[in-house]
Symmetry: C2
Subunit: 201 residues, 2 copies
DNA sequence: CAGCTATGTCAACACGCATTGACTTATCTC
DNA sequence: GAGATAAGTCAATGCGTGTTGACATAGCTG
């Protein structure tokens, strides 16, 4: 396998010299690998190979693995934030996505998987607190609005992550009645968190 | 640091020769390390050192890292299952625990962290499907009972895992009003999942 | 075209880890 | 008490990884 790939890759394209482009290619490959494998299991060599460049370039452009990780994490979150979700369909839409297979949605949930992997790796968890607050919790909080938005955002974010994990280990879409009930229950939870509480002000 | 511990440990106790005991010590240390660090970041040498034995013994008694992991995982789940929770206070109790710092509860949630870490490591995730079904989802399902217990158990388990992650990255207890609202919302979710649906049979 | 600089390549190094087999010694049996 | 066997120790090996600096060359600049 190893010699096959080596031989196949070698004479392909001498690769145009373009700093911007290769930097972007590395970053892009890194996002995927970190999201799929987490910091500890991701391998620089594989990332580089995926981007079609030499490993040494990640040092030149990013300085090291950890720096690359931080950069990729930021870039992943820059994407769209808590964009204009339709409040009427939000809960249902998310629930359906979560009932599906993890593979149908890879593009959109990549950044959340990234977050999940980062949060559960003991190496990277310490780097997260600020980013979580600023780019994850805060947008959700703002989008939710109303009283106690901070606590509600916390619960919403946590549940979401949990469903993400569940979908990850489940590996395939839910079917039939279980799927329907799952969607109902999950969307009920999200919907409940969108409404402001009945408690004292 | 290294020489200090080495010197301190060396002349302490020559360690009685007891296969059962050392095997148990290794397993016990392993449970803690795997739960805290996950499979990939856990280090056999540290586990052995923690158990007060030589690394070579984990090979003798378990065969290798992966085998030790599986053993520890099983042992962790054997503990008590979904034991006799009081249905009246269940939701509230869990919510309070989740609002607290992850450190106050280490003993009881160790096995769930173990599960979480195992589920989110790409190396060990494949080993989990059966165990998840048999020793995690199924007990919850049985405890919940009623219609659509499988789907509800799924949602309950997923939410719980999510809250666990949130508490993990939060690192400290919630305080004041945010804490109260958090507890209310979370226990509402769990309570909701305990009641059988209003949908069609 | 000559020469310079940014860009890309290569081969090694250092380190941590799991694994392994040969060696030592306690504990038990006859 | 002598010998056997289980229990524990030690040092070394091999592999994968991040990192690094020396080297090659494309593409621009004068």
């Amino acid at each position: 396998m190893s010699d096959a790939t080596t031989l196949a890759r070698a004479p392909a394209e001498p690769r145009k010299r373009d700093a911007e482009a290769t930097r972007a290619a590395i970053l892009n490959a890194a996002k995927g690998h970190f999201a799929r494998l987490g910091y500890d299991c991701a391998v620089l060599r594989h990332i580089a190979q995926d981007a079609g460049v030499d490993v040494a370039l990640v040092k030149r452009y990013f300085g090291g693995k950890e720096a690359l990780f931080v950069e990729a994490l930021k870039a992943s979150f820059l994407a769209d934030g808590m964009r204009a979700w339709d409040r009427a369909t939000f809960a249902q839409e998310i629930a359906i996505t979560l009932a599906d297979s993890p593979h149908v949605d890879e593009e959109r949930t990549h950044r959340f998987q990234f977050l999940l992997r980062a949060a559960t790796s003991p190496t990277t968890a310490p780097l997260l607190n600020v980013l979580i607050q600023d780019r994850f919790l805060e947008p959700i909080r703002a989008w939710l609005g109303g009283a106690d938005a901070d606590a509600r955002a916390r619960v919403l974010a946590a549940s979401y992550i949990g469903f993400l994990v569940e979908r990850l280990v489940r590996g395939e879409a839910l079917e039939g009645r279980e799927r329907r009930v799952f969607i109902d229950r999950v969307s009920a939870i999200f919907a409940g968190l969108m409404t402001v509480s009945d408690g004292p002000p």
